[in-house]
């Protein structure tokens, strides 16, 4: 059974005819070809697929595309300014070597932006606790924590 889904993705309307069982992440990666959102697990544990749904961080592997009907989606491709200027969180990751292989990075950045929406001035313990839903195998988290601390300063 297929179903038509439509939503706003990175400020633009997006629609497609998909199988009902299609995950939101599959819709984003395969139908929209926005491949910055990654899949790192099959149990909603790694956070590589994190996007914003109506401004809230969500694991897009844990939702059906249908469930996003009419919602506003932001992916990693949609957070830099139109002229290419990086979002302060992207810039902070770059300045602080908050990424290595880059595979967890889109999910980390999307989670971190949401984190600062809730805790504009987080201490290290809060950042570490709030990163609970995102795995990184490369950085040891040290520089991800530093990046988020730095972004919190510039975004205040």
């Amino acid at each position: 059974m297929t179903v038509k889904v439509s939503m706003t993705v990175n400020g633009k309307p997006a629609a497609a005819e998909v199988e009902e069982r299609t995950l939101l992440v599959t819709f984003i990666r395969e139908s929209l070809r926005l491949t910055g959102t990654h899949v790192g697990c099959d149990t909603a544990q790694c956070g590589a697929c994190t996007i914003h749904v109506n401004g809230q961080a969500m694991k897009s592997c844990n939702m059906l595309a249908m469930q996003a009907e009419g919602k506003s989606i932001t992916t990693i491709e949609g957070i830099a300014a139109a002229d290419g200027t990086l979002h302060p969180m992207q810039e902070a990751f770059r300045q602080n070597h908050g990424l290595q292989c880059g595979f967890c990075t889109p999910g980390m950045v999307m989670s971190a932006i949401d984190m600062l929406n809730h805790y504009p001035d987080p201490d290290e313990a809060t950042i570490r606790a709030e990163l609970d839903g995102n795995l990184c195998r490369c950085t040891g988290y040290h520089n991800i924590v530093k990046s988020i601390q730095a972004a919190a300063k510039t975004m205040r």
Binding site: C46, I76, F93, G102, T105, A125, D132, L135
Partner: protein, 788 residues
């Protein structure tokens, strides 16, 4: 003069694409006519296959092709090869049972591939795969290496007696035994080095395509060494001509060893892409990664250290049973031998060492190199037993280490390695200072007042990197040399493209290598491009593992750069009408010595491509050079880690209160990247010691830690921030003076943490990982013992 680039924390040029979602990982690629593969895998640890029925699956919607072990056998496809031949103490070669790409007759571990289903969409392939009927005759299984050696244990391979792949030894047994006979003190420890599952966050992925137009194949694969992948697949498995096969490893989302190897899925898809004449994509689900990526570690070890009355080490004796899993993965046999037993001297002048290793087949996923590969296991043996000896003899653990340090170089160990340089006091001193060891007793007393247990542990590690000198590797069983290749292509305007056989999957080579090139040529980094990971572009490569990229791959580039400069000097001599011997090259300028007559690098490059009046008998046009570099020795990074923990005796929860890492990596090109490598390595090592353990159920042979819900990956709030620093004794035998930094953290941190926890608990030893439940139980047991 151009900006200096060496030793500068230059920001990574890779980051922009990764931060904006513009990376190009294998699964991101979708080709015209793309089909998708799903593997049918054994749900059992050990079984005979009675039949595989595919007719119903073949009728399912969208199916393009189905292949089984029978098809593979009919096509006469060989099994997967092992790259390292170990000869046992009996003089016999190791047992190398067949490793078919799709199971033939028998399955030997849960997840062993039985058939592949290819369909128009992934969902259709999944649906059809469920309709493949496999009839199994269950067999008893064995998952533990010690159990597998016992008489009557199930045989993983009918033709491998006692499941023994080999028993191998190194060192002088008689001299070691004699030293033990005269020892004043002997410390004995028995432990397991827990099985780890690598889990790079990007799962393995393959996209294979065949072109009828020119009878060629292209394989995109998430892999750490595309040339080796191609060589092994073409020459040993499929018998394809190499020049008709292109292997591309684009952006790779972490490897840690697990993506070095040639896997069955890569070969199946390449072969099948011609059969179905369509591109085929397969991306592992995480559960498949858990079941089929090569695992790491899994040793059972008994070790004994003999000391004289003053605490001087007399001899070390080690016996290890290494679990190989069901089949030999690409480098599996080398890990518990060459990469392990040769490291057992550590930083110490132990005069006699003997180590015997028995490698064992079991009904588990193959075990191969995982970050550190053999060296973490060796360091764990040495640093745990040294710590235990210090406590038994009531000598300060740092003082005992210091008393036994190797102090003069080069130093020949009793286990084959020749250390070229090092200064172990320097890293120990700095670590003690940074960790404020002097203040520890006060912190411990303060914690005790709060009812908490505080402990401090050291690890002084050494590793052998820059793998490898081909002659040494060859004499130790490597079936190939382990050099590296580099090519420097200077364009007419003086811009430079560098092709390297090393592969980056998070290490930042595109930045570090560009720093080296810009520095050597005296040009801007913006004028240098680094290309890697494509057999159609890079002349050859042995890939990235064993912290070898800069020491071996970087040096190959430097050698090619030297050739470029040498030719540039000839061109400059011609242009400036001077003798070649009078031309100096510095800061991007070719200059006639002692004059102000000079030509910039870019002018020389242009002249090389528009040579109006070259003396063609002496000078060829063009400026493009390549080099192969085979090092004369390993490199030997070393350092000291100090870990301080606080244990809550009520809950068994361990908090790492401080962690200091002082490493000697020789010269450092980009300190920011090096620190990042250390952080990542530390968390992988601390993950082993505190969180991670791959567990197979001994009855069913099932992997009980097969998802991120059951296998405890270290998360941000399990880990501390780190204090890191470096000391440097430059490597003596490569022109950059570099040693390698990728694995150190994973090597030194497990014993540092376990030494700290056992210190806090006041116990001799317990098994990693130190989960709260285990720590709590250990404490209860110790208290009961004390009470009795």
């Amino acid at each position: 003069m151009a900006t200096p680039y060496i030793g500068v924390p230059v920001q990574r040029r890779e980051d922009l694409r990764f931060l904006t979602g513009a990376g190009n990982y294998t699964d991101d690629l979708t080709l015209p006519g793309q089909t998708h593969a799903v593997f049918v895998r054994s749900p059992h640890a050990h079984a005979r296959i009675r039949s595989v029925k595919t007719a119903a699956a073949a009728r399912a919607p969208g199916v393009v092709g189905i292949f089984t072990g029978e098809d593979v056998a009919a096509a006469r496809i060989n099994g997967l090869p092992c790259g390292w031949l170990i000869h046992g103490t009996d003089g016999q070669p190791m047992k190398e049972p067949a490793h078919p790409i799709l199971a033939q007759g028998k399955v030997r571990h849960a997840g062993d591939p039985v058939a592949v289903v290819i369909a128009e969409s992934l969902a259709q392939a999944r649906d059809a795969a469920e309709r493949v009927e496999v009839d199994y005759d269950l067999l008893p299984s064995v998952v533990d290496s010690v159990e597998a050696l016992k008489p009557g244990a199930p045989l993983v391979h009918d033709d491998v007696a006692a499941n023994r792949c080999y028993t191998w030894a190194i060192g002088d047994k008689a001299a070691t035994d004699a030293a033990f006979a005269s020892a004043a003190h002997v410390t004995t420890l028995e432990f397991q080095n827990n099985r780890l599952i690598p889990n790079p966050i990007e799962p393995r992925a393959v996209n294979a395509t065949y072109s009828r137009a020119d009878d060629s194949y292209t394989l995109h694969v998430s892999n750490q060494n595309p040339h080796v992948e191609r060589l092994l697949m073409c020459a040993f498995v499929l018998g394809l001509p190499e020049h008709k096969v292109r292997v591309v490893a684009p952006d790779v989302g972490g490897g840690f060893g697990s993506k070095i190897y040639l896997y069955a899925e890569d070969v199946v898809l390449t072969w099948a892409s011609k059969k179905v004449n369509r591109p085929i994509k397969w991306t592992a689900e995480r559960s498949e990664s858990f079941l089929t990526d090569a695992h790491g570690r899994d040793h059972h070890t008994r070790a004994q250290l003999a000391l004289d009355r003053d605490g001087r080490f007399l001899a070390l004796r080690v016996d290890t049973k290494a679990n190989m899993g069901a089949y030999l993965s690409t480098f599996a046999s080398a890990v518990p031998t060459i990469l392990y037993a040769t490291l057992l001297a550590g930083q110490y002048a132990t005069p006699h060492i003997h180590c015997e290793v028995t490698a064992v087949f079991t009904n588990t996923a193959p075990v191969d190199a995982y970050r550190g590969a053999g060296r973490p296991e060796a360091t764990y043996v040495v640093e745990r037993i040294v710590e235990a000896a210090a406590r038994e003899m009531k000598i300060d653990p740092a003082a005992l280490r210091r008393r036994n340090f190797i102090r003069s170089f080069p130093y020949q160990t009793p286990v084959a390695l020749l250390y070229d340089t090092g200064d172990y006091e320097a890293t120990l001193d700095r670590a003690i200072e940074m960790a404020d060891v002097a203040g520890f007793p006060a912190r411990r007393a303060e914690a005790a007042r709060r009812g908490k247990l505080r402990g401090l542990g050291y690890a002084c590690y050494i590793e052998a990197c820059g793998i490898a000198p081909s002659s040494v590797a060859g004499s130790l069983g490597a079936r190939a040399g382990l050099f590296e290749a580099g090519e420097v292509r200077v364009h007419p305007t003086g811009k430079v493209t560098v092709f390297t056989g090393s592969h980056a999957h998070g290490q930042g080579h595109e930045t570090t290598f560009a720093q080296v090139v810009a520095d050597r040529l005296g040009i801007s980094m913006d004028d240098v491009e680094i290309v890697h990971g494509d057999t159609s572009k890079v002349l050859f490569g042995m890939g990235t593992y064993g912290s070898r990229s800069l020491a071996v791959g970087g040096t190959a580039i430097v050698k090619a750069l030297d050739k470029v400069v040498a030719k540039g000097r000839k061109i400059a001599a011609h242009l400036l009408e001077a003798a070649e011997s009078d031309i100096e090259f510095a800061d991007g300028q070719f200059r006639v010595a002692g004059t102000d007559r000079s030509k910039a690098f870019a002018e020389i490059a242009l002249t090389a491509y528009v040579p109006h009046n070259f003396p063609h008998d002496k000078l060829e046009p063009g400026l493009n050079e390549n080099a192969f570099y085979d090092p004369s020795n390993f490199t030997f990074p070393a350092g000291t880690y100090v870990c301080e923990v606080e244990v809550d005796p009520e809950t068994g929860i361990v908090r790492i209160e401080r962690f200091v890492a002082v490493d000697d990596f020789g010269n450092i090109i980009n300190p920011m990247i090096v620190e990042g490598q250390v952080h990542g390595g530390l968390v992988q090592g601390l993950g082993q010691a505190m969180n991670e353990c791959g567990i197979y159920d001994s009855g069913s042979g099932q992997l009980t830690t097969g998802t991120f819900l059951d296998y405890c990956m270290p998360r941000a709030d399990d880990m501390p921030s780190f204090q890191v620093d470096t000391r440097s004794t430059p490597c003596t035998h490569n022109p950059l003076g570099v040693k390698g930094c990728g694995e150190a953290g994973a090597i030194g941190s497990p014993p540092a943490l376990m030494n700290a926890i056992t210190d806090a608990l006041g116990v001799a030893d317990f098994a990693m990982p130190a989960t709260p439940q285990r720590v709590w139980a250990t404490l209860q047991q110790a208290q009961r013992k004390q009470a009795a």
